[in-house]
Amino acid sequence: MYTQALNTAETDDRGLEDAARAAQFQARIDAEERIEPNDWMPAAYRKTLTRQISQHAHSEIVGMLPEGNWITRAPTLRRKAALLAKVQDECGHGLYLYAAAETLGTSREELVDAMLAGKAKYSSIFNYPALTWADIGTIGWLVDGAAIMNQIPLCRCSYGPYARAMIRVCKEESFHQRQGYEIMLTLCRGSDEQKAMAQDALNRWWWPVLMMFGPPDATSQHSDVSTKWKIKRFSNDELRQKFVDATVPQAQYLGLTIPDPGMIQDAEGHWRYSEIDWTEFKQVLAGNGPCNRDRMAERREAHEEGAWVREAAAAYAAKRAQRQTAQAAE
């Protein structure tokens, strides 16, 4: 239903992937040229990007759930409208990203099926629960803040459709981040109970947010080749440090305490954080986070419950096409 008619490069990849083409491809990357859907590309480049872009799309879609869980309970009409618009933006990001991934030759249906079957990953952060209204502020401030840190360099990614999608996504994410911070600011200027709610949310989200940048550089399995192909421009640890350095003063301005008693500022001004609990990260990735099962169950339910609607739309489109053909023949 969603497949686009683009060159699926399998025959190219098998028949023509030779050293000369690979060298020419790398030369284009090195010259900062953008690779476009119908250009030749190594099979591994295609596979890496399909994986990365579709994971990113799945993250946007699963990411609708923790925040969506507060749309019906937002404390004011202004907050309700803003949150609904934000979650809608995320859905839009998911759509652009699936479309970008489809240009590499895999249909949205196949990509979604892989996610629903548990074969494709989405960001670990969405496996944590949004328990209070302050979580909505914190998700905007920190989760979207971390996403921006990761995604700004992707605006210069070597693959054109992904880079262009990221430009639009980053603009919206930056708005979301400011909106989240403004929720936190309102809470921190509010009652003691509201400030405590803000601190509690920061305490719960801080470490999972640092894990969003992925495993430490020493153990990251995708970085080397992604860097060579200019899909990735900074390492996980570099981005994580940039994020921490940007975030600590923001927390100080709010009057909130980063839940890391061991954190110190070094001579160069960097905020050095304590050891991250990578066991927790691995457990969440393995499906054992607090919400993994709920998130997957919700996505599967929406997909299964919606099957008859998608079938109806397809059946109607087919009938209409048939009628048009019959009319044209008359």
Partner: protein, 258 residues
């Protein structure tokens, strides 16, 4: 202990604005419940978009009601601090989402009316209401087109979608009569050229419905017994649950700024 609910002085104009604001908020809230759970991403987007339009309309109408009441109320007090008996929305809009067919039929019935209603209201002598109507009419025209297209797809899609769409029509039909009723206070606003008589729109509303139903191979019910009560706060049991969720923060943490 004083009640946590506000008391609204329901002059005809305040009540008029509140009723339309409540329609928009409750329907917008219902649609927002779909966000993240729709049958396809395009519908997550579309239903959220419609919900956003409706919540926007509600905010303008509440703000106007508060201004007309002139007792220091505001959009949030009106939305969050009135109980089920004080809500004035149509029974139709509070009906649960049910399946996608039920949501779209509810939207179709309402939007086919709202589109005509707001278009007629653009000539209201009340300039604020005329301005709200001008904006709302543009939005409801899209809402109606979206819902109509789905009614046709579902009705003329598969046997299952046809069955579900027809069941939704049969179920929700009894809530449509309330859209066309007015009380004495509203009658006076109609005479003053501030409001329009919804009864005058019923013929065209029915034509829209019949045309779309025919194309969708669906049938409109013959049953003309209509449920009433939403406009005077006699609701279905569903609304109380919706409000307990909608209002939970303001009820748990009264008087704070968010």
């Amino acid at each position: 202990m004083p009640s946590a609910n506000i008391q609204v002085s329901e002059t005809p104009l305040v009540l008029y604005a509140l009723r339309r604001a409540d329609d928009a908020l409750i329907l917008g809230h219902r649609l927002s419940e779909w966000c993240g759970h729709a049958p396809m991403l395009e519908e997550d987007m579309a239903l959220s978009n419609i919900a956003l339009d409706l919540i926007g309309q509600a905010r303008e109408l509440y703000t106007y009601a508060a201004k007309a009441e002139a007792k220091g109320s505001d959009e949030d007090k009106l939305a969050y601090l009135r109980d089920v008996r004080q809500y004035r929305n149509l029974l139709l809009v509070e009906q649960p989402n049910g399946d996608f067919a039920q949501t779209l039929v509810r939207q179709f019935f309402y939007s086919a009316f709202a589109d005509l209603y707001w278009r007629a209201m653009m000539t209201s002598r009340d300039t604020t209401l005329a301005a709200i109507a001008a904006k709302s009419e543009k939005e409801s025209a899209y809402h109606l087109r979206h819902a109509s297209e789905w009614i046709i797809r579902l009705g003329d899609g598969t046997d299952e979608s046809h069955r579900r769409a027809q069941a939704a029509i049969d179920h929700l039909w009894t809530f449509t009569g309330e859209m066309f009723g007015v009380d004495e206070g509203e009658r006076a606003l109609i005479h003053a050229g501030i409001a329009v008589d919804p009864a005058s729109l019923r013929g065209r509303w029915l034509t829209t419905l019949s045309d779309i139903a025919r194309e969708a191979t669906l049938e409109l019910p013959q049953n003309d017994w209509m449920q009433q009560g939403g406009r005077v706060g006699r609701h279905s049991e569903h609304l109380g649950h919706l409000l307990s969720e909608l209002q939970s923060m303001q009820r748990t943490f009264p008087g704070l700024t968010w």
